[in-house]
C-alpha cells in the first residue's frame, strides 16, 4: 500500500494502563482482556486518511515498568507523536505523568505532538481520576486530551487520528523538517503522478512482476 506520509508514534505510560490494548484495538479492532507484560518494544501499523491523503502510522508500544525506563528513553528519538497514557482507575498512574512528560520532552524532538489519554473510561465505577483533572493537566502542559476505552473502543480511533491531524497540520505549517527522518516523518515513496509511461510502470510497487 502506498502512502503520502509515514508518522512514527510512541505509546508511553505506567505499566498496566492499557498501552498494548490501545494499540491492539487500533490496529486489529479487538480487545484482549489478559495481556502479557510487554518487555522490550512491540510494533503496530495502520493506514489512515487525512485530508484525502493516505498516512501510515507506525506505532511503537513500549514497556511501562520502571526497570525498562532507560531503554524506553532511547525510543523517543525519531517519534513524531506520543500517546501518554494513564489509567483513570489508578491515581498513581496519573501522578507519574509529570515524570513521563519530562522524559518525553527531554529525549524527543521538540515538535513531537503529545496526546494525553485517560484510559479505561468504561470502568466508571472504579474511577479515581476525574476527567477535569486530566483536562487541567493537559491544558497546563499544552497537550491534547481524551478519555479512551481500549475495551469498548471509545475514542481509540479518534486519539490516534487526532494526533496524526496535529502532526499533519504542523507539516503544513512547515514546523517539521520532513526531510529529516529523525523527526519521525517519512515521505511516501509513491503517489506522485506518473511523469512518463515507464515511470508509471515502476511506481506500482508490488506489481513489478511484469518482467
Amino acid at each position: 500500500m502506498s502512502y503520502a506520509y509515514l508518522f512514527k508514534y510512541i505509546v508511553i505510560g505506567d505499566t498496566g494502563v492499557g498501552k498494548s490494548c490501545l494499540l491492539l484495538q487500533f490496529t486489529d479492532k479487538r480487545f484482549q482482556p489478559v495481556h502479557d507484560l510487554t518487555i522490550g518494544v512491540e510494533f503496530g501499523a495502520r493506514m489512515i486518511t487525512i485530508d484525502g491523503k493516505q498516512i501510515k502510522l507506525q506505532i511503537w508500544d513500549t514497556a511501562g515498568q520502571e526497570a525498562f525506563r532507560s531503554i524506553t528513553r532511547s525510543y523517543y528519538r525519531g517519534a513524531a507523536g506520543a500517546l501518554l497514557v494513564y489509567d483513570i482507575t489508578r491515581r498513581e498512574t496519573f501522578n507519574h505523568l509529570t515524570t513521563w512528560l519530562e522524559d518525553a520532552r527531554q529525549h524527543s524532538n521538540s515538535n513531537m505532538v503529545i496526546m494525553l489519554l485517560g484510559n479505561k473510561s468504561d470502568l466508571e465505577s472504579r474511577r479515581e481520576v476525574k476527567k477535569e483533572e486530566g483536562e487541567a493537566f493537559a491544558r497546563e502542559h499544552g497537550l491534547v486530551f481524551m478519555e479512551t476505552s481500549a475495551r469498548t473502543a471509545a475514542n481509540v480511533e479518534e486519539a490516534f487520528i487526532q494526533t496524526a491531524k496535529e502532526i499533519y497540520e504542523k507539516i503544513q505549517e512547515g514546523v517539521f523538517d520532513i526531510n529529516n527522518e529523525a523527526n519521525g516523518i517519512k515521505i511516501g515513496t509513491v503517489s506522485t503522478p506518473p511523469t512518463s509511461p515507464i515511470g508509471s510502470n515502476v511506481s506500482g510497487q508490488s506489481s513489478n512482476s511484469c518482467c
Binding site: A45, R77, I198, S203
Partner: protein, 577 residues
C-alpha cells in the same frame, strides 16, 4: 534510463518490502531468486513487513526480544538490535531447535537434545538466513545416523557394537563432535551448491551450542563468541584451583566471585595467521602472484632492498632474518592486527559458511580457499559439576552460557559481560523472563545510545559503542541439566523394565521348553507386555522354540515388538488395554 529504473525499483524495494522474489532485473542474464525471503528469527514473531521494517530502524535501533519468553527452551534469553546503517537489514540471524532422536528399538524413551545457533552475516543476508533455517536439519540427520551408538547403556547390557565395527575405540564425545563438524562442512557445501540456483548469499560466521546426553558442546567458526559466566563461591574456587578458569575474577560480594570462561576462540586473520601463512606457502598459486605469505617485523620498503629483515613464515612462532627482495614488497596475505586484521586486504573473519564468490579488493582473487568452515569445538560434561545450585545461586557452577555476535564482544570484555549477567539476574530473582532481561541488558549496553550528533556511544557517552548488528543468546545451563537428569532417570527405569521383561521372557521360555504344552500365555507372567501384541509374542516364542536357534536372539526380536508406554511408566500398560 535503465539505471534510473533500477534505482527506482531498488528504492521501492528497500524501504517497505522486505524482499521480493524474484527481483526484476534489467541487466543481461536472468536474475537469480533469493533462497529464503528475508526475515528475523521466527521465534521473535515479527510477522508483518511493517514490524520487520520498524525493527530495522537504524536511527533508534530498537532492542527486540521474543514476545513470548517461554518460546525458547529453558526460558533462555534472546535479544537483538540492528546496525546503525551500514546495511539495510540486520544481517545476524539466530535459531534454536528442540528435538528428539528416536530409539531404534522403540521400547526406550527418545533421546532429547537442544540446539542454539547464532550466525553473523556479511556481504548479504542470504548465508546467515539459510544457516539459521537449515543448519539444525543437517545436524539432526547427523545425529540420527549415530543414535544407536549414543544411547546410554547399563552394566548388564553389552556396550554398543562400535568397538567391533571400528578399529579404533570411538567415544560418544567424538561421535557428537564429528556430527557437528560434518554438519558444518555440509552447510558450507549447501551454500556452494545454491550458487547456481539462488542469488549470491554472502557469508556468515557460526557459533552453535548442542546440549545432548548431559553435556554441552559449543562449535564455532568465525568471530562470534560463546562464554560461560559463572558465579562461584570462593570456597569452590579454592577447591578447584587446578581448573583453567580465566583470570578475570570479579568479586560481587564477599562470598562469591564472577568468572568468565571462553567457550570459543575468534577466527580472524590475526588469530589464524599461522594457518593462512602456511597455506600460502604450500599453495603459492592461490595468491595469484599478488601477495606474499610472510609477516615482517617492520614494513618492507624499496629503500631497504638487499638489507636483512626479521620475518616469519608458515607456522613460525618466532622471528628470523632474511634478505629483503622485490618479492617481499608485495602485499602481505594478512595485514593489520587484532580485530582490524584483514585477509587479502578484504575480510576480517577467516572461518564460517559461504563466501564462495567473494573476491579480494584490488586483485580480484578468490578468497574462499583461505577460509575454512571447520569449527573448533569445546565441550563440558555437566555431570562432573559437583556443587548444586541453591537459593543464593540459582545457576550455580553450571553457569550461564552467553552466545553473541561480535557486535557485543567488540565493545564489552568477557568479564564485563559476565558481571552484567549476574547484576541483571540479581534484579530479577524469580521472573521467568530473567534471562531475556540479561540478553536485553547486554544488547543495550553494547549498543549504547546516540548522542546529539547521532553517534552511538557507550553509557558514559564517550567511548564509541558498536555500530554493528548485535545478537545475544543467554542460556541457563542448569535448566538443561535438570531436564536431562529427569530424562536419564526415566530412561534407566525403562531400561531396567526392559531387562526385567527380558529375564522374565527367558525364564518363561525355559519353562515353556520344559513343559509339554506351550499353550501358556507368555504375557500373563508379565504385566508390562502390551496385550495387543500377545499373539505376535506367542508366535515369536513358538518360533524361537521350534527353530531352536539361540534363545537370546529370538527373545530380543520378540521384545522389539513390545511397545513400552514410557509416558505411563509407573503403571503396567495392561491397565490401558
Amino acid at each position: 534510463m535503465f539505471n534510473r529504473l533500477k534505482n527506482r525499483v531498488l528504492t521501492s524495494i528497500v524501504p517497505d518490502i522486505p524482499s521480493i522474489t524474484p527481483t526484476p532485473s534489467y541487466s543481461i542474464g536472468r536474475p537469480l531468486p533469493e533462497k529464503f525471503q528475508y526475515q528475523r528469527p521466527p521465534f521473535l514473531q515479527l510477522l508483518t513487513p511493517d514490524e520487520l521494517k520498524a525493527s530495522a530502524d537504524h536511527n533508534v535501533r530498537p532492542i527486540i526480544v521474543p514476545r513470548d519468553v517461554a518460546i525458547l527452551p529453558f526460558c533462555a534469553g534472546y535479544a537483538e538490535c540492528v546496525n546503525s546503517g551500514k546495511s539495510e537489514w540486520n544481517e545476524d540471524q539466530a535459531a534454536f531447535s528442540m528435538q528428539v532422536l528416536h530409539h531404534p528399538s522403540k521400547d526406550l524413551p527418545d533421546l532429547p537434545y537442544v540446539y542454539f545457533g547464532i550466525f553473523d552475516g556479511h556481504a548479504g543476508t542470504g548465508a546467515a538466513l539459510a544457516s539459521s533455517l537449515q543448519f539444525h536439519h543437517i545436524l539432526h540427520e547427523k545425529l540420527v545416523d549415530i543414535i544407536e551408538l549414543l544411547l546410554p547403556t547399563n552394566a548388564n547390557e553389552s556396550p554398543p557394537m562400535f568397538p567391533l565395527m571400528f578399529h579404533k575405540t570411538v567415544s560418544k564425545d567424538e561421535l557428537i563432535i564429528g556430527a557437528l563438524e560434518s554438519a558444518f562442512y555440509d552447510m558450507d557445501a549447501v551454500l556452494a551448491e545454491d550458487r547456481t540456483k539462488y542469488r549470491n548469499a554472502g557469508g556468515c560466521t557460526s557459533v552453535v551450542t548442542l546440549f545432548i546426553l548431559g553435556k554441552m558442546y559449543v562449535a564455532n567458526a568465525g568471530d562470534s563468541r560463546a562464554i560461560l559466566a559463572q558465579r562461584l563461591s570462593k570456597e569452590m574456587i579454592k577447591m578447584q584451583a587446578d581448573k583453567p578458569y580465566s583470570n578475570g575474577v570479579k568479586s560481587d560480594s564477599d562470598d562469591y566471585q564472577i568468572i568468565a570462561t571462553p567457550f570459543s576462540f575468534d577466527h580472524t586473520p590475526d588469530t589464524e595467521r599461522g594457518r593462512i601463512l602456511s597455506l600460502g606457502k604450500v599453495h603459492p598459486d592461490l595468491m595469484g602472484g599478488e601477495y606474499i605469505a610472510m609477516e615482517y617485523a617492520k614494513k618492507p620498503m624499496t629503500k631497504d632492498l638487499g638489507t636483512r629483515i626479521l620475518y616469519k613464515q608458515g607456522n613460525m612462532k618466532g622471528w628470523t632474518y632474511k634478505t629483503l627482495t622485490k618479492e617481499d614488497l608485495k602485499m602481505p596475505i594478512v595485514t593489520g592486527e587484532g580485530k582490524r586484521s584483514r585477509l587479502l586486504g578484504t575480510i576480517g573473519v577467516t572461518r564460517g559458511f559461504g563466501d564462495h564468490d567473494l573476491r579480494a579488493i584490488g586483485s580480484g582473487l578468490l578468497i574462499k580457499p583461505f577460509l575454512s568452515c571447520h569449527p573448533e569445538i569445546i565441550y563440558r560434561d555437566l555431570s562432573l559439576i559437583i556443587s548444586l545450585p541453591d537459593d543464593n545461586n540459582l545457576d550455580g557452577e553450571y553457569g550461564v552460557l552467553i552466545m553473541g555476535t561480535d557486535g557485543l564482544w567488540d565493545v564489552l570484555e568477557n568479564e564485563t559481560v559476565a558481571r552484567i549477567t549476574f547484576e541483571t539476574l540479581k534484579k530479577y530473582p524469580n521472573e521467568k523472563h530473567r534471562y531475556t532481561m540479561v540478553a536485553q541488558e547486554l544488547v543495550a549496553k553494547s549498543r549504547g545510545r546516540a548522542n546529539d550528533s547521532g553517534h552511538w556511544r557507550l553509557s558514559d557517552l564517550k567511548a564509541p559503542a558498536t555500530v554493528d548488528d548485535i545478537s545475544v543468546i543467554v542460556i541457563p545451563v542448569y535448566q538443561y541439566y535438570k531436564e536431562f537428569c529427569e530424562w536419564e532417570k526415566k530412561y534407566f527405569e525403562a531400561q531396567q523394565r526392559r531387562e526385567e521383561l527380558r529375564n522374565a521372557a527367558i525364564s518363561n521360555n525355559k519353562a515353556m521348553n520344559s513343559a509339554a504344552s506351550i499353550n501358556g500365555d507368555a504375557s500373563k507372567s508379565n504385566p508390562i507386555i502390551d496385550n495387543d501384541e500377545d499373539d505376535d509374542e506367542d508366535d515369536e516364542v513358538e518360533e524361537a522354540k521350534e527353530e531352536n536357534s539361540t534363545e537370546r536372539d529370538e527373545i530380543d526380536r520378540a521384545l522389539e515388538k513390545i511397545n513400552l508406554n514410557d509416558g505411563n511408566s509407573e503403571e503396567p500398560s495392561e491397565s490401558t488395554a
